[in-house]
Symmetry: C2
Subunit: 333 residues, 2 copies
């Protein structure tokens, strides 16, 4: 990370979550003054413990009703990681999904316009609204065909933020993430990523389930994701014409089938087993098949590339959770 | 129209508006039992008088808070014309824009699932979220780059509806409309279409303004739009595999520059004048340049094509408003 982060005022929404807290640790270590805003909602992966040792100040408020003005005032950079990301949850309750990804984002945008007109913004977006890929690898120009309500609301959130650049000139970019994994991810269940429940099962000595098995996916280790966000924020300052106002895919090292990933997980853990399952009909309707990102645009603009191999990332993930599993299975937030 | 509409139970949301009321007239004439649901909000173009003689029953309720269950129960076809369509309004108040195009649409979807599980749905969508065209004519696969908040929320609305097909199998389609014009459009101002204020100015003996002048646009006369919606609903029954689950562009006869359109307006009215103006900077940011639709997909699936020439449509529009202008300039809804 560049030395420029020393003393910078940074707000990380969703700061107690998996990716948000990892950003807080990295930014804190680089000397930034970090505020982590988080509603600490059950089911999101947010935990106070994620921030231990980061130096970030945790503000426990919800974007849907917080008084945002004092929180954003004077902020230099906003990393906007807060969002509803549950696919199944969005189908069961699309209203809450839209309130978090739509209405709350508009509140944050309005507050930023009032109180931090020059702040740079890196928004956490997702590849999930591409739906079932019509080409591989998937470029940013791929049609938007959301497979669920969450895809609709997350695309709206991204576009609201990009409009702040296109209409109002704010330095804003959005990173469309693929499957992210690593320390502090949610492992209680598969709500955040199916890799979470895999890690849990392996460490519990139980079989994990692979649904399908032949689908290709790509995976981003958390340190690479953090580097992408930091690099994006720096590019918004150093080369705004290239970096602002457009979404960028963030991919992984190379795509891998889910079954090969299962084998890599077993190798990383040195133990475990999995069972192959076929998709039930009600899930097949929202499954997207194979996906891997074409992220050459972001690599070209910023020079970023993934540094952590899948084997290494899985090993570090399993090793990190091994002594911490009970804490991460607790309901305590 | 096919004879199948006799006795059909039809709900038209936004039924007192420009296009909604035109649909009510056509469906009523074909023997359907039509309920027009409309919140009669100021600035939308809704007027009770639009429904006079249609035979439709007007229900004055707002999708944001109405008890929708009894309204949708037993409905055979829903024409979903209600929506916030003001571009400038969405920039001034994105919250209301999202409440109408997002939250209220989710309410209607939920009610329909409970009380009319088999109803066909034709949703009124828009070309406006394509943003500034990257190719001409614009196909449905064009990237989605909303130029304003309204484009974000209208795309979300469309996708929420299409998910009802893709995930739940309901016969749903969406028509992406271009500039629509004709009797009963809003002429008080340019909020619904700039052609409205042109008609007003011509009939008042004042000059209308053409912003730019060289941009190409296409125009749909209201009778052709009504035919498109009716045809789409019929196709959802007769050929659901081809018609359901995808959006269709609806275009006009042939594109025309705005200055040529101004000349056509003067010819249709037999009077009037215009002044050419250059775009101010704050509007240029959300202007989209030239647009015309590639609507071959819809023509191919349904056999629909525009029947009313621009010259004829403009003449019929001006003639219709000539004796009615004072009524359409009144604030009375």
């Amino acid at each position: 990370m560049s030395a420029d982060w020393q003393g910078k005022r940074v707000l990380v929404t969703g700061g107690a979550g998996f990716l948000g807290s990892a950003l807080c640790h990295a930014l804190g270590a680089a000397g930034a003054q970090v505020v982590a805003l988080d509603a600490l909602l059950p089911g999101t992966g947010a935990r106070r413990a994620n921030l231990e040792g980061s130096g970030a100040r945790l503000v426990e408020q919800d974007l849907r009703d917080a008084d945002l003005h004092p929180l954003v005032e004077g902020v230099d950079v906003l990393f906007n990681m807060a969002g509803q990301t549950s696919h199944a949850g969005s189908q069961a309750d699309p209203f809450t999904d839209l309130a978090i990804n739509g209405h709350a984002q508009l509140r944050l945008i309005a507050a930023l316009r009032d109180a931090a007109p020059a702040a740079r913004v890196v928004h956490a977006s997702t590849r999930q609204f591409y739906g079932r890929p019509q080409m591989l690898p998937v470029p940013e120009s791929h049609p938007i065909v959301p497979p669920d309500n969450n895809g609709v609301s997350k695309f709206a959130a991204e576009q609201y933020w990009l409009l702040e650049n296109r209409v109002h000139g704010r330095p804003v970019t959005a990173l469309r993430l693929t499957n992210c994994y690593g320390p502090r991810m949610r492992v209680m269940d598969a709500r955040q990523t199916f890799l979470g429940i895999w890690v849990r099962r392996v460490l519990e000595g139980e079989a994990f389930e692979i649904w399908g098995g032949g689908q290709l996916r790509d995976f981003s280790f958390v340190d690479d994701v953090v580097a992408a966000f930091v690099t994006a924020a720096e590019a918004l300052a150093s080369k705004p014409d290239a970096a602002a106002g457009r979404p960028f895919n963030i991919g992984g090292e190379a795509p891998i089938t889910l079954q090969d990933l299962g084998d890599a997980m077993l190798a990383a853990a040195g133990e475990g087993r999995y069972v192959l399952k076929t998709f039930p009909a009600e899930r097949a309707a929202i499954d997207i098949g194979s996906y891997h990102a074409d992220d050459r645009l972001f690599r070209g603009v910023t020079g970023w590339r993934p540094r952590v191999t899948l084997a290494e990332g899985l090993r570090r993930t399993v090793d990190w959770f091994r002594p911490r599993l009970p804490a991460y299975l607790s309901d305590e937030i």
